[in-house]
Symmetry: D2
Subunit: 399 residues, 4 copies
């Protein structure tokens, strides 16, 4: 392996890549994992029951801590309220801390109570909107308590049929609820606004695309930003374009990573089109090298989060796989020689520019990642190490 | 209303439409409703609980009987096994008979047991394939008992990731299970094979499109035919083309009607693009007028079934709405002057042919349907009549 | 026919529809037709040559005047520069005037010169951007000369491969070109900004969706608005939702009407999913009845334009068909009882709200349109009247 | 580089990969390039004119010979008739031979004459169908003359509007034309039948999907097989599934390689989702290792062809890039340890099976390809070698 890395080093040196910076970037990236990714999840047809599932939020933290232990880059866990509600959040925070992890984004749930059948913050019934707002405010409080600086908002609001709801008015209602929530944020907090093309609403979704989330964020203020869930777009959508665009507008706040081939299939990120994930990181790294410091700041402050519901996979290995896939594509994107791309662009050399981007993707970053992991003190092959650790078997006793 | 129908009659006469035949066709069409459409259904996010849901198969029959009572064209109910399993099918049949309805297609369920997580008839484990085959054979027996002549097969089999399953072998495994089932059919029975683009499998579905279902049906024999579920296609797919093609091959056996704007959204049939439903019927009626008697026979023996899972709608009204939408588009399609279309085709008159088809769609068939309903002895406005009947309130006592 | 209208009138009266207003709205709607819709157009595979094509802009005006003559609602023709360049625009304007029509939107062409291969206003080469800007300014001048108050902008700018162009910078370059153009507008002029999902750029389009066009319009100012081309969206996109949203933001400026089943197929508007067109008008008319006068103003000042390239159809009949399809769906949308929809929404009655919208679509508006046409002094059946007029034969002498 | 290959060799040895076989497979794969890929091509908006384009079929052969010269795996060129029509095919064949290349598939053109506006082999006019059949027979003759054993058929036949054509009858008409053509084949020839989802037909395409092409091939006989064009599917379609399925049916005959993000965009193969191309080869190689010799034979006799129309790229480099992309993904697929995948499948180890496939994709095959190219006597870096060869400049004198 030593030889492999040495060879890799020589190659990158020859290509003009600053490997020191590559190492630093790889050591500093953070990918948040979701508490709901550690439990049984299903399709509308069936939720298959696995053994060893965490029985409460504390055990979810324990499972999540394993992912961090073996990858070294997942120290935070996103919470979903009320799924992760506990009596004593300070205690939960301490438990997490003792495991070497912390609380990440707080995700309110506004879709699993009967009252929300026809909408939460967009419901025509003001009492239901009030209830939804109270839940949002509760989540801001929880964030403050657990030390989280991200409120991550996804709404199931929408309609199934033409005429079902007053589309224009619903925008206004959502704004009012979010404004009240926004005003409750402390200055260090961010509100990330997610959009979704469809599901569970099948005619219209109130925040259907990046444009609607972006416009809402603009109206709310600086602390509101857009969250891109990679599975929430129409077929054919160029996601990296949206990413580049939002960074250009200084309004990209974060990601929910996952993959999908058809609808919002929640597959392991990077498993359908890994090149797309690479191209997303290429756009981010290109922006991080922009001359405008505000663009740089945006690119460097993106919250990376996994959001997947594994139906058939073993949960912890699936999460490790996801993190490794993200890390792999990020590493490859770090090998793009941006100056070379720019030079080809200047010369209007289409094939040259394309090659400068693609050739980084075709490289094997295994030696690089092994070297970085060694520096970080985590196993060179996190998946094997986890599988051999016995943790997976130990939790079977949970039932 | 009399005046309206008289006017309609004159117009159609002037257009050369044989209204007597139209009435007959409208009186003889049968649309089967699904037992599972009368109970709570949901998305993976939430199943909203409604009041008054049937507590068993007998009550589902009672609800389904209401749809028939008010529309007059829904005398059969599709069963889903084991959801509709009862101790005594003869008793169930009698109960249904007493309500004026009968048992329609039998639908096996091969996706809701933990063993089927990685497939049923395509599972790499022969014991699970055996179990699945036994269930299929059980369903053939139930069909014989309840007097149903249709076995309607949908498989959730598929994979979520490249490499997960041996794709070619799985085709063979499915064939073996279906062959054994096919051989158990009595000569009057049909096996309808459904296909689905995706979900719940997110990488590949073993019967992903009409071509795979068609090829399977061809290999099995004459009693096997393809079932088209209108919601199970890729975006942009021309469904009426597939319908016309399958009739041309004498292999179209039936429909599962529903609508979708995005994935397989299970919305009320005809609610997203009613013109598409009209065009499907135009193709069927065009085939019913073919010179080849075998084509005619195929076109006249299609099993029309609703397959929808209403998430937010009231179940019985949603089913009535669905039936009415189908009836409306069928009625409009009956007004296409096929000779006029053919004449325009012969003249290579693109706009003329298109107009000859479309103009039937733009007609108001309300007077026609009222007249036909009067002849059939059902309410002229089935929806209002049902809503005023008090049945919906009476079942609230079920809890 | 008299009887048919009388019956229609009674029905609408009973439904509470203000037929006088319906007539007025139908008489005042204006649909602009495009000069490029009267000439041979093709796919990349072939442009089929028809006889009788106009040989210059003057003859295009003559053909367009026929559409207005028979429909009464198409008095303006959109120009495409340089395709419609003439020596003396005042003379052209007079020619049009003598035919009873006028000049509509001015459409610059920034995609048919070799220099624009890698972009026009987004080209990395500042000389090419300058050239593009000069063309835009020239078009503003032409608009002033011919008395047009709409500059309608569509850009082919985009890339085919990752890395080919600097995505973020291109946004800025476009802004600079458009800002200069915007500043040249007179206060009565509007700049309509069109977006397109893909084609002719196949990796990214610089204005790929409504959000990017909207954001650009916001930055430019009040006179810049978004133009929705019904064919320029990803599969599954809810266009009427975008329409409602943009009106809510007071930024919807106009439409390019056409239909598509797959890509941007440029079929006759309303020929693929007429219900979608109806729902677009339902949203517009709902907004026109908003309590906010600014919303009303936006809804009442939308520029309706056809943008189709007929590959196989006869040009003038295809344009008449298109106009009639728009008129038909507009007429149906005028029959939606908005108060009834609102009432159902308030009651959270999903099926009731849907029915209130759909039932208007299912009505036959032929008697209404005949009556309105009579009032307007145009033929009751514009298509037949045109086909019988002999104009189509007379122009064959053009060659 | 030597060190890089040595390292690579060790790694693969450790993984149990038979590198000797890998080398042999890489040396024996053949990728045909299309004569029409060497000339100016465009979108419907514009064909940009490049300098140095071949002025006749002889010069196209010369350009194609360059691709073979630098890659070593492209010795055949597909012809398009009548575009490539010459007076003396024997002479053309000799010219090609002198350049080290030969004639590949013969592609009839049935879409660029005015008579074909409403169809060729599916035209309602029997005279036009006759003309089309004559052209097909002419192409069979040309194939015999130039020594080609593949007739590659793509039809633009379809309709733009409902009602425009008699869908069922058109299937029969196509069959009759193809049957006559099929009967003219010599026993060593193959007829490859391509399908396309849409374009240039925008309502229905007579051969819209693999199922229709497959059924046609089945009816014609053993020498008829399906051709998969990677750009001709609905969004979301799992192409490798279709590939596996068709091999399982022993009916996959060949490929037209290209990439698309949206419609049929004709981008360089492997430039949008290289993983998809890799997975196609994984399915082929898995089949080549099947126990059934007939499956093996099918998998080993697939005709690989590029079919791209480069709009903005330099033609010869774009073709070299395409070939290299195919070669790269083929090489990666050769590194999949099939036994490992099977073992994981047997254990129902979803993540393990996925990893066994994906890990081959993540490897850098540059050292392998360099080694293979050295053995073959072609440049290690074909693209650089071509760019430095001066050929591109030399042809500019063509004008």
């Amino acid at each position: 392996m030593d030889r492999a890395y040495k060879l890799f080093e020589e190659q990158q040196l020859a290509r003009g890549i600053d490997l020191k910076q590559v190492h630093e970037k790889l050591k500093s990236i953070r990918i948040e994992t979701p508490s709901w990714g550690y439990v049984n999840q299903g399709t509308r047809f069936k939720t298959f029951e696995k053994m060893g599932m965490p029985r409460n939020t504390y055990e979810k933290m324990e499972d999540a801590a394993q992912v961090h232990k073996f990858t070294g880059i997942c120290p935070a866990v996103a919470l979903h309220i009320p799924w992760d509600k506990v009596e004593d959040y300070t205690n939960l925070k301490e438990h997490a801390g003792s495991l070497g992890i912390s609380m990440g984004a707080i995700n309110p749930n506004l879709f699993q109570e009967n009252e929300y059948m026809l909408g939460s913050v967009c419901n025509i019934d003001s009492k239901i909107r009030r209830k939804a707002t109270e839940h949002l405010l509760e989540c801001v409080d929880i964030a403050k308590t657990v030390g989280s600086d991200v409120l991550s908002l996804w709404f199931a609001d929408g309609t199934n049929y033409p005429g079902q709801g007053p589309i224009r008015q619903r925008v206004q209602w959502m704004y009012e609820c979010l404004k009240e929530t926004y005003d409750a944020l402390t200055p260090n907090m961010r509100m990330l606004i997610e959009y979704k093309f469809y599901e569970p609403a099948f005619y219209h979704t109130d925040l259907a695309d990046w444009g609607m989330a972006f416009n809402m964020a603009n109206k709310l203020g600086k602390q509101a930003e857009v969250l891109v869930d990679t599975g929430h777009h129409a077929q054919g959508t160029n996601i990296e374009h949206i990413v580049a665009y939002l960074i250009g507008e200084k309004k990209l706040g974060g990601f929910h990573f996952n993959s999908r081939k058809y609808g919002d299939d929640d597959l392991i990120v990077g498993s359908v089109n890994p090149y797309e994930l690479f191209l997303i990181f290429y756009q981010i790294l290109d922006a991080a090298a922009d001359q405008d410091p505000a663009i740089q700041t945006t690119a460097n402050n993106i919250a990376y989060m996994i959001d997947q519901s594994h139906n058939i996979e073993d949960k912890i290995p699936a999460m490790i796989r996801s993190v490794l896939n993200v890390q792999t594509q990020y590493a490859k994107a770090l090998l793009v020689n941006l100056a070379e791309v720019r030079a080809a662009q200047e010369k209007q050399d289409v094939l040259g520019a394309e090659q400068a981007v693609r050739e980084a993707f075709e490289m094997d970053v295994t030696p690089l990642l092994r070297a970085v992991r060694e520096e970080m003190g985590v196993p060179c092959d996190p998946m094997s190490a986890y599988l051999q650790s016995g943790y997976g078997i130990s939790i079977l006793s949970r039932g």
